[in-house]
């Protein structure tokens, strides 16, 4: 059959984009509704220059803080920074890829136990043990994620919960993991002659980790892979039709999340010098999830804020005793019912 006559491109096409430019509704881009404190803050730091200034300011505060505050504050802040790492990791899984992981503490545990066992029982150098520990976590992520990521999201939630419990029970039952009492006297690491042992030393280690986790999250978010997570979360079929392998994409998110968790676990174990199965309970997973949901799934500054809230909140609520966990639970429920996208405003596109 003969090709139909090719039509010349109509001239009007050339200037039509101009027309559209004029009637494009700029207002549609922004979310309408009340601008809360965070939105105003966010808007104030929208330009790259100001944002850089904000970054520098925050970094300066982080560096100076231990010199002007008590050791107690330093220890609490160290814990908050640990949570920043863990929450940014879980945020990739839950916030970006939309996979509900209720056993995230398992990866935290795998990282911590692998490095502790290698350094304490096999005398491996701490830094040399890290790659093994990360590989173990990635492997665990592949083993549990590979077959289950194609399941419905609620099944996945339960499988990850079950996996978290399996890891905890295994740690409690094995001899090499020290059973229910766990491992203690985990050697502190040195770096080029710097023996990392004081609480201020560890504080700075966690500042570095949190900053790296932040940068990595941000860069992943602005990449091809980060967009693929969002596509798959929004519409799996459309994403597949665009040539995105949804299982592989989810698995990548899961494994990267596992590695973030393991990094947190590795430094958690050397910081404390001792670990036990109870450090990696379901409650731990829930607390990390709470922080991610609180700040707003998928929003990096929100998640960081969430991490600080779940760590500093209980310290501030110490007088309430066991009630403080109840307060947290009610808070989570209220957020889901009234502000499901978290306290940080949506700001994408």
């Amino acid at each position: 059959m003969a090709k139909s006559e090719p039509k010349p491109t109509p001239v009007s096409h050339v200037d039509e984009p101009e027309l559209h430019k004029h009637d494009s509704h700029e207002t549609d881009v922004h979310e309408p509704g009340p601008r809360n404190l965070f939105q105003r803050l966010y808007a104030a730091f929208e330009s790259p220059g100001r944002r850089r200034a904000l970054h520098v300011a925050i970094l300066a505060i982080l560096i100076v803080t231990p010199w002007i505050s008590s050791q107690y504050t330093t220890v609490i802040l160290t814990n908050a920074l640990l949570y920043v790492v863990l929450c940014l990791g879980l945020n990739i899984v839950v916030g970006y890829a939309g996979l509900l992981d209720l056993g995230y503490a398992a990866f935290f545990a795998v990282g911590a136990y692998t490095v502790s066992i290698l350094t304490q029982q096999f005398g491996v150098n701490f830094w040399a043990a890290i790659p093994f520990s990360l590989m173990a976590a990635a492997l665990a992520g592949v083993i549990i994620g590979g077959p289950t990521l194609r399941l419905r999201s609620d099944y996945l939630a339960i499988v990850t919960l079950g996996f978290g419990e399996i890891v905890r029970f295994t740690a409690r039952n094995l001899e090499i993991t020290g059973g229910a009492s766990g491992l203690s006297h985990i050697p502190e690491p040195s770096l080029f002659g710097w023996h990392i042992d004081s609480s201020i030393d560890f504080y700075y280690v966690f500042v570095v980790l949190a900053v790296l986790a932040y940068i990595a999250s941000q860069r992943l978010f602005d990449s091809r892979l980060g967009r693929a997570w969002l596509y798959v979360r929004h519409d799996e079929d459309a994403a597949e039709a665009m040539g995105i392998n949804r299982v592989a994409t989810k698995l990548t998110a899961y494994v990267i999340g596992a590695i973030f968790g393991a990094i947190g676990g590795i430094f958690f174990s050397v910081n404390l010098g001792a670990i036990s199965p109870e450090s990696f309970s379901f409650q731990q997973s829930v607390l990390i999830l709470l922080a991610v949901v609180l700040g707003g799934m998928g929003k990096i500054p929100g998640v960081i804020l969430g991490a600080f809230i779940v760590v500093l909140g209980p310290e501030l609520l110490r007088d309430f005793g066991t009630l403080r966990l109840l307060i947290f639970a009610v808070l989570l429920l209220l957020i889901m019912l009234f502000r499901p996208s978290g306290i940080w405003p949506e700001k994408r596109s």
Partner: protein, 258 residues
Amino acid sequence: MLLQLKQVSLSFAGNTVLHDVNFGVDAGRIHSLIGPNGAGKTSMFNVITGFYRPQQGDITLDGERIVKRKPHAVTRLGIARTFQNVRLFREMSVLENVMAGQHCRTRAGALAAILRLPSQRAEERRILETSLECLDFVDLLGHQDRLATNLAYGHQRRVEIARALATEPKLLLLDEPAAGLNSHEKQALIELIRRIRDERGVAVLLIEHDMSLVMNVSERISVLDHGSLITEGDPQTVQNDPKVIEAYLGQDDEELAL
């Protein structure tokens, strides 16, 4: 032959949806698939793009077997599609939507992204440029920062086409692209389909109920009825085929207004 289906049969729980379909699309051709409602047209798209797995038959693209491949693999091999009901990523920007199409033509992984390797940055730039070019092609440059869901319906359809073009396909499947468009927009769609073929060399296979559009734009038409291909030919032949008229009889649609 660019796309070839040989003896493809598909059934769901004993109901035959496609029966022994032999079908082909030539490279660089604008080809239409028509037929009454429920004839199996969209199912055929789903079989071609890997969303459904046929019980029988073989499908090849450029000689390469694509049957039993996952949808993402089929797209990578060169078949892009749009959906009957627009399936944009509604809460993402127009540009991000189109960038999705470039995913299968790029490769940077997590590590490259975290380290911002020069290759990764060059790739991101290329994704951006190609996506903007595709948006320009469908005349939507200037809308790239809006949320997809805020666009007018006709524009959403064009974004979907731009997104499909961003996968750099050899064959583009359009599922009822004119549905919900006014006559002005339909005219623009005809132009766009022709330009896709003429300027980008992409073959187009479309399902459409608007017969005047089908007759106007197609070089070849295949008619599907009850899961079987009943006739095939140029618009003139198909229009006068008694079998086609019979297939549409009992359908009270104005679709018959050929």
